[in-house]
């Protein structure tokens, strides 16, 4: 109850701040929207030429994309501080969090959430979902809806874990902006397309190192049942929540451990 109150307070002040310059946030959300939309058009034109990519048609790829956008939208609500962590340390904002009598991690979640960008990514995901969800042969019964919700939550947590893990390096080196962004955005781009079209190395990385495959590919497989799933163990389709819990636990423990080495 107490925690919810704190989260609500952060959300309230955050939304107020982000949206108070109406024109500014309006333009920013459009910019983000069109950036995302342009990558969707890229996929669209590619598939006009090839028709399918590893047995996946355009609607199915759009469906995968909608999962990525939805989870990313939630991710930037909760894990924004970890994305911009070097700046938080540099500007002394992290010291403020440290000195306040609440859990540090709890204070960091939701704090500084980029509500404008979250809204744009959310809009993209809803749009992609509307375009694809009813024409890819998914029966939206209770089980599938529940599975979808769990998928979105797991996907958000997995991406959060990646950022929490990499932001912990900032306790040791004050600058490592590059690595985190590179790893995350490259993986995210790979995850736009079905895992099966990549080589063995990339596949293994996306499954076991930066587990983006469990954000959208395997969950989408459960709902779509494409033929390329035969190359992977069937239980991978149910593994996303487990991967989320495990990766987040590892990331959190590593972060907590590294905090001991932090000198303001």
């Amino acid at each position: 109850m107490d925690l919810i109150q704190l989260f609500l307070a952060y959300a309230k002040t955050g939304i107020k701040t982000r949206f108070q310059y109406h024109m500014d946030s309006f333009l920013l959300s459009f910019a983000v929207f069109f950036r995302e939309a342009s990558s969707i058009f890229g996929v669209y034109f590619l598939l006009l030429k090839f028709d399918t990519l590893g047995d996946w048609n355009i609607k199915e790829i759009f469906f995968m994309f909608s999962i990525i956008s939805a989870t990313y939208s939630l991710f930037i609500m909760f894990f924004m501080v970890f994305r911009d962590f070097p700046d938080w340390i540099k500007h002394g904002d992290f010291d403020r969090i440290l000195l306040r009598p609440r859990g540090i991690f709890v204070q960091m979640l939701l704090n500084g959430a980029d509500w404008v960008a979250a809204l744009s990514h959310g809009a993209i995901s809803v749009l992609m979902f509307i375009v694809s969800a009813n024409s890819v042969g998914i029966r939206w019964n209770a089980t599938n809806i529940l599975y979808y919700i769990v998928t979105i939550i797991s996907g958000t947590v997995i991406q959060g874990a990646i950022f929490v893990f990499f932001s912990a390096f900032n306790f040791y080196f004050s600058k490592n902006h590059g690595i985190k962004e590179f790893v995350f955005w490259k993986s995210r781009r790979f995850a736009t397309f079905p895992l099966s079209i990549y080589g063995r190395v990339v596949q293994n990385i996306l499954m076991f190192v930066i587990p983006f495959a469990f954000v959208n590919y395997f969950p989408a497989q459960y709902l779509l049942r494409k033929s390329d799933m035969a190359a992977y163990p069937a239980y991978y389709m149910y593994l996303s929540p487990v991967i989320a819990v495990v990766s987040f636990t590892i990331a959190y423990l590593f972060w907590r451990f590294s905090l001991r080495y932090y000198q303001s």
């Binding site: 307070a9 952060y10 002040t13």
Partner: protein, 327 residues
Amino acid sequence: MIIVKNAVKIFDNEIHATDNVSFHISSCEKVGLIGVNGAGKTTLIRLICGLLRPDSGYIRVFRREPLSWDKTIGMKMGMVYGLGAILAGKGKVSFGFDALSCFAGSGNLDSELTIKNNFELIQTIYRIPQDLFWSRFDELDEALGVKEYMNYHINQLSLGQKMRAEIASVLIYEPELLILDEPFVGIDVSAKEAIRMLLKKLSMNKNTTIILATHNVEEIEKICNRVMFLDRGKMIYDGSFDKIKYLHGCMNTISVEFDEKIPDLQDLPIVKYEIENHRMKAWYNSDIVSAKEITAFIVSRYRIKDLLIHKPTIEEMIKSIYGGIST
């Protein structure tokens, strides 16, 4: 309340920022921390609040090891950083990036939010009931005048306005231990006076322990009853102002302007004297000879135009502690 024993903190560049410092501060004390820039004030404060850990030695705050994420300590402790602290301490010693850019964001207030939003967050974080919180806020507003900027963003405020908001944001949860690092830099005289009154009231009514770090001795003299001097990480003095006055306040001067030729003062037990035209300046130790004796001696023998007795100010006494000659 605070125990520091043989604390040592050495930075990468082998500067001993805190060099074997030991002291004990009990509840309700008002301690002034004096030192020139780079003397190690900010480092010592950061050790106390757990943002830094000592390389060796022992520090306890509220009978706990200060770790900045300790919620029990966080609830009872308030930190105010002033501009001086941020420019001198954070900018140079620990990082080396542009100090001013770092000032933009640091402090207790989130620079992206308005004062109002910041205070709403503080109310939730410190679990203070709404009505109590805002009645305290009105009280603080009388002294600090932050209400009129309620809907301004922190980075829209002037330095003085920002400092007042910072101080209000800490005092509002009534910490048992209040640490202020250079809080008076950039604040006008009336606001300084208001803050001083506020601090006095706080320590009287709420038994707040106050640690005030500054290089402005005057402020410390007005607020604190105990003072510590730091010099290059070492504690060179720890005690009351009275003790300083007793130890270092005895070297007084007397300036006399004569109407005639400068006389011979060899009979008087003065330390030294300087002569310039008709004016003579003499240094004497007030423990050995009183001003009364000297003036009586001069007035009874010579015709004088003017006479001035000067007792050393605290500032001058401190200079003498730091190794200068008492003048």
